[in-house]
Amino acid sequence: MIRATVTDDSMKNSLAVSAALHILLLLFLYFGLPHLFTPLPSHHEPVPFEIVEIADLTNTRVEKPEEPKPPAPPPTPAPKVQAAPAPPKVEEKIEAVPLPKPAEKPKPPEETKPKQDSFSKLLKDVSKLKPQETAKPTDEKTDAKEQPQEAKTMAPALSNRLTISEEDMLRRQISQCWNMPIGARDAQNLTVEIIIDVNQDRTVQHAEIVDQSRMVTDSFFRAAADAARRALYNPKCSPLALPPDKYEEWKRIDFTFDPRDAL
């Protein structure tokens, strides 16, 4: 019995040593031998090659201005006048009862970011803007909906990453669908981060607002986050302007909606 235990112990020890050595070997195989005394060779980012790829595309595209939405005509209810001064009636107090929520998809969380003073440039000043009457898209780059095919580069890709032009195309597409929260209190502090999973057909599979806790506590943030998510789900912006051959690069996208630098 004692002998058996001793054998067991020695077996365990050798197994442990063997396992440790195997781990070490695996780590060396995976990470390579450590360079303890010589500095690592500097690593060159492949960024310069991307710049070459831009030449295959052009940022110049036909501008298809969005139709400005005319403000809805004011309702013209026929006001009643009572000739005699009527004693004002005490109106019944009306209490709200929350309805039970139907089964629904879980809501993704969002994150907000602060805005700066430049944001106020979006606001109208009649002393400066005489002829402008209706709200205009704030983005001068109100191009037509990007055709995703345009994003496809014809030359063989040097890297599989999205080029700056391709990212810009997506950015401009979503900008046309994002209704910015101007006029809201502290609107400059309403930056929202949303992570989306994208289907292979470039439609949004799922959009998750990152800062879920603020969704619960801050009604302004919740409204801004919902508005940002509506931009991503908007049929006007579907499918997303993405190069179909780079699915691995865009199957998950981290969007930040930041109104601070508007204009």
Binding site: I23, P71, A72, P79, V81, P88, P98, N179, P181, G183
Partner: protein, 440 residues
């Protein structure tokens, strides 16, 4: 489990652990969106469902009022009901979101009216995010049928709040001065209406000329000034009870007082010879306290919403400008430094802006706003004669009156972004509006 098996399991775990970084190493694509559009949100509001003809009529009326409220705010557009693809009972159980998306509806309001055995109405609604296919809010209200219009405003407020984050302002009223008759014999009476121009009522007879009504921020109570036989008198009027009290005879008062945020005090100015100073009066004790003491004109005072500060106009620096000071009269700061003069400052209920009036360089007048430190000055409205700005209780919309060279004064609203100026319909000429707080 034998030692060998345990080791094998350990080894496999180790392999899995070592392989994990390979898949996680893929970084997400990061995109910053820093530009967008500013346009109204398309919303679909089908008639609320009612099983009986009577309920269905209320359902149509309520949906119309809700739709008009939201559209008038400028932040929403209503989708034409003629294009609706789904109505009635089936909407309540399961909206077909793909059909509503085709209409470009971003929000969908679905409601139902049910007459209760006790004679009241149950009005319920759900607000849906059409793109995300999620309910944003759902509420029910019980009320007497004659109150249907108020319920509609309350529903509109709930939708407005959920989508914009701000409190609504539709369940509110406006008091104003209704003007009739020729210029030589102008009759100015006190009138009240819902914020959408409905339920207009005249509150005073024509014997006294009524001026500058002001709403209490906490109660359905107003102050106003009335001239009886050329003598000015300040009244306190409770709209719900109809009770009217005389606050006092102030021969040297030019505007009606404004309430302090707690509703227990009013602030006003009294002229004395060529000067004018600011005073407060406790409404319970009628005790008066002088706040400013100088040899200049200090007038048109208005409290900040926290009651800690006061803004007013004064010519102490040589021209009429806007100043702020602590509620006790200390720490006086001039905040308006633009070209020309500034007057009648009114602090926003949300505290971030002060509205004012100002003559323009071309002989017109502006209604403008600036921050309490004087920065961010913008002009929101212009006219031959624009005056009397009053804030909606959420601080998002301003109402004022505008007289375009002899056409007679009319009431207008404008969003604080400077967009969406609209006339508020009144049966007569109208001036000096005052916006109520949300109804209790």
């Amino acid at each position: 489990m034998t030692t060998t098996k345990r080791f094998a399991a350990f080894f496999l775990c180790l392999l899995a652990f070592a392989a994990a970084p390979l898949s996680a190493a893929h970084a997400d694509l990061k995109i910053d969106i820093t530009r967008g559009v500013v346009e109204p949100i398309p919303v679909a509001i089908p008639a609320f469902f009612g099983a009986s003809a009577n309920e269905a009529q209320y359902g149509r009326d309520i949906a119309t009022v809700v739709s008009n409220d939201l559209v008038r705010s400028g932040l929403f557009t209503a989708i034409d009901p003629k294009s609706f693809v789904q109505e009635g009972d089936s909407l309540l159980t399961a909206p077909r979101f793909s059909d509503w998306r085709v209409l470009n509806a971003q929000a969908l309001v679905v409601g139902k009216i049910e007459a209760q055995p006790d004679g009241r109405l149950k009005v319920e609604f759900r607000l849906w995010d059409v793109f995300a296919e999620q309910q944003m809010t759902g509420l029910a209200y019980f009320t007497i049928p004659s109150n249907w219009r108020r319920v509609a405003h309350i529903v509109a407020d709930a939708i407005y709040k959920r989508i914009t984050g701000e409190e609504g302002y539709f369940d509110t009223r406006i008091v104003y001065v209704a003007e009739t008759g020729p210029g030589t014999n102008r009759m100015k009476r006190l009138a009240i209406m819902d914020q959408d121009g409905e339920n207009n009522r005249i509150l005073s007879d024509g014997r006294a000329m009524v001026l500058t009504p002001r709403f209490s921020p906490t109660a359905q109570q107003i102050t106003y000034m009335a001239y009886y036989n050329d003598k000015p008198r300040v009244y306190l009027f409770n709209i719900d009870s109809g009770r009217q009290d005389v606050l006092g005879d102030f021969a040297n008062m030019t505007f009606a007082p404004r309430f302090a945020p707690d509703g227990n005090k009013v602030i006003f100015s009294l002229s004395d010879g060529g000067n004018s100073n600011i005073y407060t009066m406790d409404l319970r004790t009628h005790h008066t306290q002088q706040i400013t003491n100088g040899s200049a004109i200090s007038t048109a005072p208005c409290y900040s919403p926290d009651g800690q500060n006061i803004t007013f106009e004064s010519d102490r620096g040589g021209s009429q400008q806007i100043y702020t000071m602590r509620a006790n009269g200390s720490d006086v700061q001039r905040i308006s430094f633009g070209h020309g003069s500034y007057g009648t400052p009114v602090w926003s209920p949300r505290g971030d802006l002060i509205a004012f009036t100002k003559p323009s360089t071309n002989g017109n007048f502006y209604i403008g706003v600036m921050r309490p430190d004087g920065s961010g000055e913008r002009m929101l409205a212009e006219g031959w004669h624009v005056e009397g700005p009053t804030w909606a209780p959420n601080g998002r919309v301003l109402m004022f009156f505008k007289d375009e060279r002899g056409s007679g004064p009319k009431l207008y609203t404008v969003d604080l972004t400077g967009y969406n100026e609209r006339e508020v319909p009144t049966p007569t000429d109208a001036s000096d509006p005052a916006w109520s707080p949300l109804l209790p």
